[in-house]
Each structure stands twice: as C-alpha cells, then as structure tokens.
Amino acid sequence: MAVKVIIPTPLRAYAGKQESVELQANTVAEALNGLTLRFADLKKHLYSDDGKLRSFVNVYVNDEDIRYLQKDQTQLRDGDIVSIVPSIAGGAHN
C-alpha cells in the first residue's frame, strides 16, 4: 500500500530534513520499519532500547491513535496518512 508518513518538526533533523516520506507498507510496523531503514538516526527517537515505541511518541493513522486501533499491527490502505506526533513542551523559551 502506498502511504505517506508525516515527520514532525522535532524529528526532521533525523529524517533528511523531510516533512514527509512516501513508502509502501501494509501495516504501521512496516511503515515505521521502512522509515527507520531509510533514516537510521530516527530509530532511537522512535523506539526505546527494548524495541517499544517510546511513550512520548504517538502514531496516528489518519486521525486515529493506533493505541486504539491494532497498535503497530494496524492495517494500512492506499493513501493513508501515518503521523508521528511527539510531545513538545515549548512555550516561551526554547
């Protein structure tokens, strides 16, 4: 399935400064795997050492949080948009 992964601003530095990446994947796990194969630096920002998606990073398929779908086994369809949404704290400083 041809899907688009949207890279959030804080992680673009680790993804060739790209806003989004188009790739082929049948599940969220495949999409993220494809992404980290292409951009190895992203891996430690998305996954903890035990291979779990980090708890300050959420992944959405279209507008749904995968935690309330089938997590990383959520099936993808052609044209789906996978969003990586990390927590950001900025307000005044940064």
Partner: protein, 397 residues
C-alpha cells in the same frame, strides 16, 4: 467530577446581582451586539476566573485577549524577568521592560488595557507545594509554560481539582492545542504517559521559534477559554489541533480518555502531586550539563595559544545558519554531519572544537576521540564564552 455548567457558569455566590456599568457596556459593545455572547455571556466573562501559567510567548496574546474580553479575574504565574530575546515574540512587553519581572510588566500592561478587571500575580515557580493552592481559586487553567515538568504538574493539579486545562505548546513553526481535564475528556497523561528523557529533547541546534507562532497558538487558547466561559460552540476537547505555520495547515487528531491513564483512568495510581523534576529525569528546570570528561580549553587559553602562533585547527560544529550569525573562522562541519565528513579532518593536527555553548562540541570531541583523534580539545563555554572573555565584538545569540 465537575459538570460543564459548573465550569462555564459563575460558581461564586453573588451577593449583589452582577451587572455592567455604562462604560463597560460601551467597551464590550462588539460582544454585546452578538447573540453568541450578548449580555449573558459578557456577565459570565466578568465573573470568570482564569489562571494563566506563564506570561511568555503563549501567555502574552492569551493575557491580552482575556483582559480585553473582560474576564473579571486573571491570575498570572511567572518567575522570570524580561530579557531582550523575549521581545521577538512576547508581545506583552516593550523595550522599556527589559530587566523587569515579567509579572510586574504583564500586570501593568493588562491593567492599562482593562482597568475594570482584577489581576492576581504570583511571582513564583509553580511547584508541587504551591500548585493546588494557587489553582484552586480559578475556574479554568491555561498552560503557557515551556518545559515538561511544569506541564505534567499543571495537568495533574488540574485533573485533581477537576478544572479544565487549556493546553498549547510550540516548536519552531509547529504548534499543538487542545483542552484537557474536561469532564469525561482526556488529560495530558492520556496522550503522553511520560515525557521524553532529557537527552532526547532537542538541543539549541534545533530550537528556536517563529515569533508569530506563539501568537497564533496562544490566541487559539484564548478563544477556547472564552468559549468555555461563555458556554458556546464546540470546545476543543478530545481533539488535538496541530498547526504548521510553514505549510500554513491545520490538522486535527482524535484524542481519547485512556482507561489505563495513571491519573484519570479507571484505576488511578497518581492521587497526589509528585516530584516532577524526578519524573522528567532531571533536577530543576533544565537538563543538567552532561558529565563531560572531554579535554577542554578555555577561551582565554585558546586566545593566548593562537597569539603565540600555535598550530590549532578550529572546528565549528554548529549549523550553517548559526555560522552566519557569528564565527571564529573555523572549519564548519555540523555535529549531525560529523560522522560522514570526518575524513575532512587531519588527526595529526591539534583540533579545537566549538559550538554555541560547549555542549554539542563536547559530543563532537567524544565522537572524534572514539574515531581515534588524540589531539582534540573542546572550547569551554563555546562562542558565548569567547564573546564574554576574549572578544565582546562577537555577538551572542
């Protein structure tokens, strides 16, 4: 759990029926002639009590619009003083305020804008010790802070007190806005159970913010706050609004209350405020400087050695846009490119690596040591210290 009407309506026992003076009617006429606000809505605004945590980039438009709209009582929490780097986005302050406590400058500005409202000031760090006491007197909490410990603290205190928390955060040119802590709605911990460890928080190389961005996000927070008070429209509950100013695009994601949430789930494990610095893996506001054991050179020592004619190779590991601000004439290889471009360096020469403050260049020195470089030093305090100790004509940023 509070109901919507308890939040939006005036909870205070009215000793005298609240009304608007002739002057107030004129001041708020553009609200009053609109049925969605009208006299009823304006009186709700007059009786409302909103606490703004932070008077910086987000708090500035927020405070201005709440005061202008006639929110009767506005609390401000901040501990900081105005500095000149704030003025690029913190529109509450002017050049004459540099050096003043933000709370004093902000309350002066808001009182000038609307002398009929009450401004409460809390010149303090919000902490686990004082948060419940400060928050308890307000109907709505607005989070305009800039760090993870305070965000979790504000969230937890709001949920424990049953108050809505109008959340906004920004990064460079991207913002997130939602309303947490609304009855049956999600909280910040439902969305993000834990903060990132300090090491993964973007460094100054990736920091910065488009000045107008907090203006937009803070204004959306103000709009949500006014809607909650008046009780009109559809609140931004269960929806995370993402804004990208570069693409000029808004997107909306669904947020759900997490039944496993440690704070507002079915079996909560957090029932009181905790130590948020510890929770966020840090002591105090900022991540501690890394325990560097890399060899260092101070700016004064470097200057002396260069003046002596020592053969030193200056390596600048900042980003190209930083090099344009100021530089020491060094060879530029951004830290992120160092592994790919290490062959540009001659390991037989003595190298001094520097960045803005010394943190990134310490990482560069560590990396190069692992790569077999032996004669490599980190410029202590970076180009900032160079400006302080050697050459004040080098601008600081």
């Amino acid at each position: 759990m509070a109901t919507k009407s308890e939040i939006s309506a005036n909870p205070a026992p009215a000793t005298a029926p609240v009304s608007l003076s002739k002057e107030e009617i004129l001041r708020y006429s553009r609200h009053l002639i609109m049925p969605e606000v009208g006299m009823e809505g304006q009186l709700k605004l007059k009786q409302a009590k909103v606490l703004c945590i932070g008077t910086g980039g987000l708090g500035a438009p927020l405070g201005l619009y709440l005061a202008a709209a006639g929110v009767g009582r506005i609390g401000l929490v901040d501990f900081d003083t105005v500095d000149s780097t704030n003025l690029q986005r913190q529109i509450l302050f002017g050049s004459k305020d540099v050096g003043r406590p933000k709370i004093a400058a902000a309350s002066d500005r808001l009182r000038d804008l609307n002398p009929d409202i009450q401004i409460d000031t809390f010149e303090t760090h919000l902490s686990s010790e004082n948060a419940l006491d400060i928050l308890k007197d307000y109907d709505i909490i607005v989070d305009g802070t800039d760090n993870f410990p305070t965000r979790y603290l504000v969230n937890d205190a709001s949920v424990l007190l049953g108050k809505p928390n109008v959340y906004g955060s920004i990064f460079r040119f991207e913002g997130q806005v939602t309303v947490f802590g609304y009855p049956d709605g999600p909280c910040y911990r439902c969305l993000y159970p834990e903060p990132p460890p300090p090491g993964l928080v973007p460094s100054c190389a990736e920091g910065g913010v488009l000045g107008v961005l907090p203006g937009i996000v803070g204004s959306i927070q103000a709009a949500e706050t006014l809607k909650l008070i008046i009780g009109v429209g559809e609140p931004l509950v269960g929806r995370l609004l993402l804004f990208d100013a570069l693409a000029m695009r808004f997107r909306e994601l669904k947020l759900r209350q997490n039944p496993d949430c440690p704070l507002c789930g079915t079996n909560p494990t957090i029932t009181e405020l905790i130590d948020y610095a510890e929770f966020c893996g840090m002591r105090g506001e900022e991540a501690p400087a890394p325990q560097t054991s890399v060899p260092e050179i101070t700016p004064r020592e470097l200057k002396a050695r260069l003046d002596r004619g020592d053969d030193l190779y200056i390596l600048d590991v900042r980003e190209p846009h930083e090099y344009q601000i100021c530089n020491l004439g060094g060879h530029l290889i951004p830290l992120g490119d160092l592994s790919k471009r290490v062959n540009e360096l001659d390991s037989s020469r003595e190298i001094v690596a520097h960045c803005r403050s010394g943190k990134r260049s310490a990482e560069a020195v560590e990396f190069l040591q692992r790569a077999g470089f032996r004669k490599i030093l980190n410029l202590k305090g970076g180009i900032l210290a160079w400006s302080d100790d050697v050459d004040p004509s080098v601008p600081k940023y």
